[in-house]
Symmetry: C2
């Protein structure tokens, strides 16, 4: 267990609460994560009918902070004046239970291997037992957050009225498995990684920096590089300035074990685990009105893979978000991105 | 200097000759590569007019062997019964002068940093002084070979009658720079790399394997993974089987320093070095009838970047090669690929 104030300081994470999960059975591995916690924050109020709750999930390396800042507010579809919005940080996010903040026998390299399904079961406990919610007007998330959306809609079909998956598929592709393995290997090949037993996350800076560069090759679109959007959108002065000042700087304060916990989940997300590998059967369980929202230039979860999911869901609509940032458009660098998201979510919420 | 029979055995490389370049000035670095050699092979005969010579260049990790096997023969546009075909392996290819086969003071990590321009000057010497050729009916190559094609056409415009660049741009993109840096870092972060002073290339297997996986994420197209073409085209039984049996196995016998020498060149290819950074001015020097041949699903050198080059060349035609393999279609796994190449090159050679 090591201290990392990046995940605890209000200046970096805003305000969040910790929900005590008690002992969480990590289902498929049949291991119990003891004293597990979920970091969450709520905005708005639950109405009397308890039918205005919106669950927002988080992506790889993100926490509730970016979701709150980019996606939620009175100018957005996710308006706290109308909805009771619950943002939950995934396990391994650094804020919720993660290797570095877990004491004792499950600390650091001994942290259990958690799946998206474990996250969703933990979130279900928070939503139902702690917050007293039995129906979700919407579950929405991007990237790994979208993987959680699919898991929610398949695992708890009665509870999820609407689902919106932004830049995520229901089952990880072989391409993403290969890519995420490259990220893992960049981190774990650093000698100072030391099998997960570093003294401080920054010990693993070399591995983290290599990972950041690999992330940059697919996280942004080719057009992002072609049009030098690192200059116009991000205000960086050169490609090196962009890699150092955006990509490496972004990951540097994070915990390497936390990132690896997330990557392990990311590369195994697959709702067809519920149906013996039959993806169509899994997606047919979904009762939610579903919005499938690919990002036009996404190299992680390309539109045609998301459209293939949509074709297997009873009530799914595909709305492509146009953005030349590619996958990282999710971070809301451009007003045009979040305007499209808001329009699509308003359409979904109006039905 | 270490022995690597992969580069010298006829069973792996076919038959090639070595041309003694003597002392090659590595131009921009003002260093002299002493006792430099170029590996080359010729097929067919130079005609009396000396106007049927075709120069074929090589790509990253490739040598003349794959060019000979895939692109040349009586059924192909590059027919040795009609043309005198010269295939030249690039410096750092492992067969031509490379870190591991250079003795003495410039061996291994002390090998000079060579650019595409140095390669083309060396090839020019072979072509003119050794082979007595003053005119090239065609210069053709793919990927880094295409980078050499551009360099030839800009540097020696009077000599190059026709030029064909397959899957390559005239100036490297920022995206490719980032990607190739990730490859370098995968190799050089291996502790057994030891600053380039390993005892045997296989010492650096971990770094090579990591590099192979990163190459796999962009070298093949997303459709290659989506459609499990590693099964149908390559005959592999699973994604892991493909990564181990194709990607890692391909690079394993190669020399890490040789690959790094090539990557360093790859990420600096830029014909606008001749014109102070003005790409249009450089490409306007080209007198060759030029064929620009992107591969439809290429994530290294996407069609729109190649089309942008074509727009700056006086007599350039773009012909997109359709292949779902992406960049690695170059290796000729599919008959349909080489058939398209042959059709396009026949069209070019007919004028």
């Amino acid at each position: 267990m090591i201290e990392n104030t990046f995940y605890t300081d209000e200046s970096t994470q805003g305000r969040y609460e910790l929900f005590d999960l008690g002992d969480l059975l990590v289902e498929e591995n049949a291991e119990t994560l003891r004293g597990a916690t979920l970091a969450f924050r709520t905005l708005g109020e639950l109405n009397a009918n308890k039918d205005n709750a919106v669950l927002v999930t988080t992506w790889f390396s993100g926490t509730g902070k970016v979701m709150e800042d980019v996606y939620i507010g009175p100018t957005h579809a996710l308006d706290p004046r109308k909805y009771f919005i619950v943002i939950v940080d995934q396990i391994g996010s650094g804020t919720s239970s993660s290797p570095h903040n877990t004491p004792g026998a499950q600390s650091m390299a001994k942290f259990p291997q958690v799946r998206i399904g474990d996250d969703v079961r933990a979130q279900h406990k928070l939503i139902t037992e702690h917050l007293g919610i039995t129906e979700l007007a919407l579950v929405v998330g991007g990237s790994m957050g979208g993987q959680q959306v699919y898991e929610w809609a398949v695992r708890y079909p009665d509870m999820v009225k609407r689902a919106a998956s932004i830049a995520a598929t229901a089952r990880i592709s072989h391409h993403q498995v290969t890519f995420t393995q490259a990220l893992q290997e960049a981190l774990t090949s650093d000698p100072r990684w030391n099998g997960g037993w570093y003294q401080d996350g920054t010990d693993v800076r070399d591995g983290m920096d290599r990972m950041a560069k690999i992330v940059a090759t697919l996280g942004w679109s080719r057009e992002f590089y072609q049009e030098e959007r690192w200059r116009t959108i991000l205000g960086m002065s050169s490609p090196d300035d962009f890699i150092n000042g955006v990509m490496k700087a972004y990951f540097e304060p994070m915990d390497p074990n936390a990132l690896l916990t997330q990557i392990w989940k990311w590369q195994r997300a697959d709702v067809s685990r519920h149906t013996g590998g039959d993806l169509a059967a899994a997606l047919q369980r979904i009762q939610a009105k579903t919005m499938i929202m690919p990002i036009s230039h996404d190299l992680f979860f390309p539109p045609n893979e998301m459209e293939a999911d949509a074709a297997l869901i009873r009530d799914a609509t595909v709305r492509v978000i146009e953005s030349k940032e590619g996958h990282f458009a999710l971070n809301g660098f451009e007003p045009a991105y979040i305007e499209q998201v808001d329009t699509i979510l308003r359409e979904l919420l109006s039905h």
